[in-house]
Structure formats: structure tokens, C-alpha cells
């Protein structure tokens, strides 16, 4: 496998790796470093990549594990507290400011979820993987994934309703 072959395999999901890393590590710089590091790791083990029939799922699992390691290591512990500098991309420029705030609110709400739920909601609702793939990526049983996902969705919804009602009245 040469460099261009490798890039052809990796490019379709590099953004997904980046977004998952950012979901877990919060800061953009950290996520960029993590993505870079992961792609390099994949490149180093490129001989083995042929054995995996699903490189993408493998990469996502690696991302998850790598980010957990980063979070555990002291080096990253001061960075987890950095407030997210999330910028929304011009989707609702013409819409009301309040509306945009509510959309951004979702980001903060997800940030407060437990790590496991964060990953699963990222993989399902943002990246739209099917359950089978998610089970493989996070190494959990389907029922456990569903329970975590359901819990995450309900929590976000309840918080949104709470925030919205307070905000209006």
C-alpha cells in the first residue's frame, strides 16, 4: 500500500475521526493533534490494514481509545476544562439569534453527557452509523448501546425544554 492508496482509504473518514476526537477532547487544537497522530498510527500499521475488512470502524475504535488515553493522561487534564470555541457554520445566519443560540445549546448539553453517551450520540446522530457498526466501534452489546443512546437523547431533550421554557418566561 503506497501513500496515495492509503490516503484514498483514509480521506473519506478523516473528518469523522476529527469530529469524534473533538467531541471527546473539546478543544479544536487537541482534536487536530489527535487526528494527525491517529492517521500517522494507521499509516505505520498499513500492512495490517488489509486484514481489516472495515478500516473505518477500526479507525473510529482507535480514535475512541486514543482520546480516552488523552483524557486520562495529565497532559490533557487541564485542557478538558477549556470552554468550547465551537463556531456554527453559516447555516442559520438569516434566522433568529435566539434560534441559533438554542442550536448551539445542544453542543453544550452534549458536552455535559458521560463520555460513553457522548461517543454514541456522536456516532449515531451526527455520523449516522448503523447500530451494528457502533457496537463494533465501542465494543458494547446492542441493547447497551440502545439504552445509552436513549438516555442521552432523553437527557438532551429534557434539558432543552427546561432551558427553553426558562428562557421564554
Amino acid at each position: 500500500m503506497n501513500q496515495s492508496d492509503f490516503l484514498k482509504v483514509v480521506l473519506p473518514f478523516k473528518d469523522k475521526v476529527f469530529r469524534l476526537a473533538k467531541r471527546l477532547l473539546v478543544s479544536t487544537e487537541e482534536a487536530e493533534d489527535a487526528t494527525q497522530e491517529l492517521l500517522f498510527k494507521l499509516w505505520k500499521s498499513k500492512e495490517k490494514l488489509a486484514d481489516y475488512n472495515n478500516v473505518e470502524a477500526f479507525a473510529m475504535t482507535m480514535t475512541k481509545n486514543y482520546c480516552f488515553d488523552r483524557l486520562k493522561s495529565k497532559q490533557a487534564s487541564n485542557l478538558t476544562l477549556v470552554h468550547s470555541n465551537y463556531k456554527e457554520k453559516e447555516t442559520s445566519l438569516d434566522k433568529k439569534l435566539e434560534y441559533r443560540d438554542s442550536v448551539n445549546q445542544v453542543h453544550l448539553l452534549i458536552e455535559q453527557l458521560p463520555e460513553q453517551q457522548k461517543i454514541i450520540i456522536q456516532l449515531r446522530d451526527v455520523e449516522q452509523y448503523d447500530f451494528e457498526e457502533i457496537c463494533k466501534m465501542v465494543d458494547m452489546k446492542p441493547t447497551a448501546v440502545r439504552v445509552a443512546l436513549s438516555r442521552a437523547r432523553k437527557t438532551i431533550r429534557e434539558e432543552l425544554i427546561k432551558k427553553h421554557n426558562y428562557g421564554v418566561s
Partner: protein, 144 residues
Amino acid sequence: MELANIEKLVEKYLDATTTLQEEATLKDYFTGGFVAKHLQEYAYLFNYFDTAREETFTKTISLEPTKSKKRNLKWFSVAASVAVLFSVFVGKQQYDKNMQRKEAQRIYAQVSKGLELLSRNLKKGEQAVANLYRYEDGVHKILR
């Protein structure tokens, strides 16, 4: 899509039993702009997911090893230990040289002291011999 159907799907969505197709239906409805008031919070949710999906990794991918801090530290320690070894080596040499010089000085001092003693005693002896000659001369004068 009629509202009753959407409500049903929302229930399933919260229980995480929707399929990807059903979620796509929900997404289309909630990002479409006409959302029933009591379901407003889902519009925020699905709009957020849409925007979150747009974020991309913009940095160029480099497949060269990145210079990690760890490696630098490793080489730094190697360099430091080499430096320590070298300085110990040089220091030892200097110390030996210094000791040798001190030893030589000590020996030199001892030798010169000994020689001085010798020369002093020789002078004494010479004096004595000179006196002896003087006596001998005297004796010769008297005997003549």
C-alpha cells in the same frame, strides 16, 4: 409527513429504536422549517446535528513522524549523560595532572632540601680541611 406519524417516530427516537431511514425522515421534517410548536426542541437538536456534521479536518495530513516531546526528552537525556561522562573524564584527567604536578613539586622540594643539607655539610668539611692546612703550615714553620 403527517404530524401523528412524526410524533410516533419521535417516541421511537427517544427510545433509540428508530432505524436510520426513520431518523432521516425526522431530520427532513425538523430541518424543513415548519415544525409543530410542541416539538420545537427537536428542531434545535436536528439542526445542531446537521451543523456538527459540517465540521471538517482542515489541516494537511503529514505521514512523517511528528516530533513528539517524548522523543526530544529521550535524546536530551542521552546528550546530557554523554556530557556528564565527558566532563567526568576530562575532570579526572585534570585532577591526575594536578596530582602529578603536586607530587613532582614535593619530590623536588625534598631533593633540593637534601642537596642543600649536603652542600652545607660539605662546606663545613671544607672549612675543617682548610683549618687543617693552616695548622700544617704552622707546624712546618716551627719545624723549619
